[in-house]
Symmetry: C2
């Protein structure tokens, strides 16, 4: 899918409708601008139509993705959305996946599901094609509709229920080969997003439901993002908070601590009230957080200065479902919610977990195991017995960097643009994807997988490129190169505009605003739609044989002779690309 070689699209005949008013339900800039510009229309929660102008952007995004995947040897194919459950049962994900995976029976009563990712289908295909080490390595990808029944679709195109995903899968004889190839993917991802105008940050990430050993998310830093990631200001460490390890501060030795003492704390419930009452800060409290994990009660004890990270906890437990425990359930198990001490470990059917951060203090205020009571001077080793701790805390601003150990962690929000995984043998093992090596010994194929959401990329580009008037598309993904505005209904202007349109269309995609609308409306729409160059043909200029150029990104204005318009357009687009820093020469 090459970018169009140029052409004229007449606004008056185009299926487009912009709005002047701000949509009330839009949460983030991209959502607002996509709705105002008529790029998308919501069909149902998290389900959208993409109108012709949006599909032009989507097409250009797909071209960039395809070129970068092909450059690293990717082979494009097409795998189905409608999947037999049997494949997902083989890997255990038919059960393990939550309600995001849509399951149904077909008319013959067979269990089916809608592929929200294609590890199962691609491994199934590969096992029918691969037999020898000579068949390896290779990388397959497709750009295919994905349907995920998200609990909370939000952020416009950021979290939706149906989208196009480029998912790529690589197959290797061993881990070393995967790791070597993974570097190439990593670079291809940086390059892919750069070409779209997105300066992405690769961060270490949780592997989640996909699995595997290492993975990276490619993040666009933006306050409207729903992911939080930690970066070090003094080294190159970057990781999603779901993954970033919390490194312990030095603990003080216990000293000669007074004995454990019960304290009556009526009506003192919030952490603010408690710190005031006891005269110590949050880190002096042993916080208990109660969960249900796959139906079992799990109590997590963590230093009061930290929060539990539920993704880390879920991974640590190997649980498939995790939720905050209901009060009634706790009471039934003999637990007093709000006043939980480590002594609940002795209750039947209660699992107790200590986070690493518990070790950062030697003495705590803990729950009293009865309503309105706390205990103070609970000393590790003396009053609190810990055999093992795990890392289930969320890293904080100013925490120690897991890499360089400086107190240099900063937190930012961002949108996940892509995710790459070193899968290892998770799928080849469960589905029996093997090959014979040069000594005819059977080995498991080692896999990687690599995803990019197409519509989310479009939204992210807008998050990175907009102002209060509208979108500012980078040249590489702009739906049109030029918005050509004919101002007024004067025949001379109309004729000149037609001629200019024809000449610009040699190599440029022109949105020709030929409507009987005011200059104000046309200017506003051109700005909103974010076309890189605006060319105006007006009564005033046409007499001098001139047209006016305006660069959407910089606001620069140039008046040039009509017969130099094409050359000017080309040079402006070229220099804009360089300025955007996003055009990378092919090959």
């Amino acid at each position: 899918m090459k970018s169009p070689a140029g052409g004229i699209t007449r606004y008056s005949r185009y299926f487009i409708r912009t709005r002047r008013e701000d949509p009330g339900d839009a949460e983030i800039p991209s959502h607002k601008l996509l709705l105002k510009g008529g790029f998308v229309r919501q069909v149902s929660a998290g389900i959208f139509d993409y109108t012709p102008i949006a599909f032009r952007v989507i097409t250009k995004i797909m071209v960039i993705i395809r070129e970068e995947m092909n450059r690293i040897g990717g082979q494009e194919l097409l795998m189905p959305v409608f999947n037999p459950a049997s494949l997902w049962i083989e890997t255990g994900r038919y059960q393990a996946m939550g309600p995001e995976l849509i399951r149904m029976k077909d008319r013959r009563g067979s269990d089916m599901c809608l592929a929200m990712t294609n590890e199962e289908t691609v491994t199934d295909l590969a096992r029918s094609f691969v037999s020898s080490y000579r068949d390896l390595p290779f990388m397959l990808y497709h750009i295919q509709t994905k349907i995920r029944d998200e609990a909370r679709p939000r952020g416009g195109l950021v979290r939706v229920r149906e989208f196009l995903m480029k998912d790529a899968y690589s197959f290797h004889p061993n881990v070393e080969d995967l790791i070597g190839y993974y570097d190439g993917i990593y670079n291809a991802y940086i390059r892919t997003f750069l070409r779209m105008g997105i300066p992405s940050i690769p961060v270490e990430a949780d592997t989640g439901a996909i699995g595997g050993t290492n993975s990276h998310e490619f993040i666009l830093p933006t306050p409207s993002g729903e992911d939080t990631f930690a970066r070090c200001t003094s080294c190159d460490f970057a990781a999603n908070v779901e993954r970033a390890a919390v490194v312990l501060e030095k603990t003080e030795p216990a000293g000669n601590c007074p004995p454990l003492e019960e304290v009556h704390t009526p009506s003192i419930k919030t952490i603010g009230d408690l710190t005031a009452f006891f005269g110590i800060d949050k880190t002096g409290f042993l916080k208990a957080v109660a969960y249900e994990a796959d139906g079992n009660i799990v109590i997590v004890f963590i230093n009061g200065g930290y929060e539990v990270n539920e993704v880390k906890l879920k991974n640590s437990l190997g649980a498939s479902e995790l939720s905050v425990a209901e009060s009634g359930r706790l009471v039934g198990a003999g637990i007093v919610p709000g006043y939980i001490s480590p002594r609940v470990a002795s209750l039947p059917k209660v699992t107790v977990i200590f986070d690493n951060t518990v070790l950062s203090s030697q003495s705590y205020v803990i729950g009293g195991d009865k309503e309105d009571y706390h205990m103070k001077n609970a000393v590790l080793g003396r009053d609190i017995v810990i055999t093992k701790t795990v890392d289930v805390a969320t890293i904080r601003e100013g925490d120690a960097c897991p890499n360089c150990k400086g107190q240099t962690i900063t937190l930012s929000r961002g949108i996940e643009l892509g995710h790459t995984f070193q899968l290892g043998t998770k799928y080849s093992e469960s589905m029996g994807l093997t090959y014979l090596n040069s000594e005819s010994a059977e080995n498991l194929v080692v896999m990687g997988c690599y995803g990019i959401g197409v519509e989310r990329a479009m939204a992210s580009i807008i998050e990175a490129h907009h102002d209060d008037k509208g979108i500012i598309w980078p040249v590489t993904v702009a739906p049109f190169d030029i918005a050509l505005l004919a101002l007024g209904s004067d025949a001379e202007v109309t004729n000149a505009a037609e001629k200019i349109a024809e000449s610009l269309a040699i190599g440029c995609d022109v949105l020709f605003d030929d409507r009987a609308e005011s200059a104000g409306v046309k200017f506003a729409d051109a700005d909103l739609l974010g076309v890189p160059l605006r060319v105006v043909v007006s009564k005033k200029l046409v007499g001098k044989g001139e047209v006016e150029f305006r660069v959407r990104r910089t606001g620069e204005v140039f008046v040039v002779p009509g017969d130099e318009a094409l050359a000017k357009a080309r040079s402006l687009l070229e220099s804009l690309s360089k300025q955007e820093g996003v055009r990378i020469d092919e090959n």
Copy 2:
């Protein structure tokens, strides 16, 4: 998506696996060759993976479709697969569609379905964008995954459960405008299929579940097709048998017919036995066929020389479900299966229908309404009272042409490549898609819709272009232009082949067979995969600086100097295109 500008694909690194043996389960040539060539792999009944070589063909097919749609002003967009049931409830199709429409609840309990076509979504989108006659006409299309839970997936890619469909929708101020545009669509369809190398025949067709007034199917005539269509040998009439009207032969006047007489016909059950027993041919019998239509018993009487066409019957009844009646159900209603006479019209809850063909004779043998009895000399008007007849018969070879009235009908089988519909106001009425005309009066938008199945087109191309050795792709849709074969492991051959590959890749897509396989294997694979040109570099020729060309379609062989290979390839591809008669100059 432009066709690639040329490049080299190394067979040794390509994700491809051909088979020597014929697949046992393949029903038709395209299915067999797609499996043998490793183009597709079945994931489940009617669900396939399309491997990289198949995706190259699919890409070229989509390019042709897009170019032809854009040429007639089509605007490409993207609408969702995952649809809220509410839209389908508005048009009544949520109920009316059979189990082909996959329905499910989402995690919030809302009814959803998977779009098997997009009239609902496109009309919903259009009603939010269209307000004035100035917004009309326009045409939107997308190429999107469709999921249809077919009862009997078959014929490889001909009838599947998941496929890519190009569905286009046009919107007009009135019927005249639609009809004018429809001619353009009609021509674009002829042209689209011709460019793929398919000589399609447009035939009048039943409108089925899509609805509307007129529609055409574009058919590839082939014995492996599942559609039957009627053509006239002396005029240009062509129609699907589901649509073709049966024109009555002249009826003989009744004359002085003997009275109705009961005849004992023990053990005489088949039509063959009956014709022998009564000494008359099939047309002398009034055949009764019993159905259940939406739960009601319907008895169709038809001249014994004809068969009931169930699509015509369903349309005539306006029924959404039709099946042959079960014997028990008939007995319960007081009907004697196998011996049904028109007197059953007097039974409660039984509907009786007479086909037009009943009028082609004046006297019949009819059922006796009791086991082992028939009645002869049943005369229309005297013994059989008919107030109305309908056309629910299937046209036969040699029947009268509905157009020119000659006895000139021939029947053929074929594959439906595309289907175009003049929808009229079916969807705009049910979904409230209106516009204000120039007098500010509200009018319904008039619509048309136009589909092409992408994978079915691929299969149809193969049905039209293959021999016993494999596929013969037309140049316009071939996955590669050239199969370059290096024979033997001689360094001189290998080096020469690398050089030839580099030179051919300037403008040609080269599948470079660099495997350590025998010449026989390489020849067989090149033939099977159907690449238009084969270029061989061998020990014998390389000494003379020559290569051998072979044209897959014609078998012609040329030996040319290596440095003329590119020029020769280009001229052969050019002349092949002309020979195939399928390349139409662009604009």
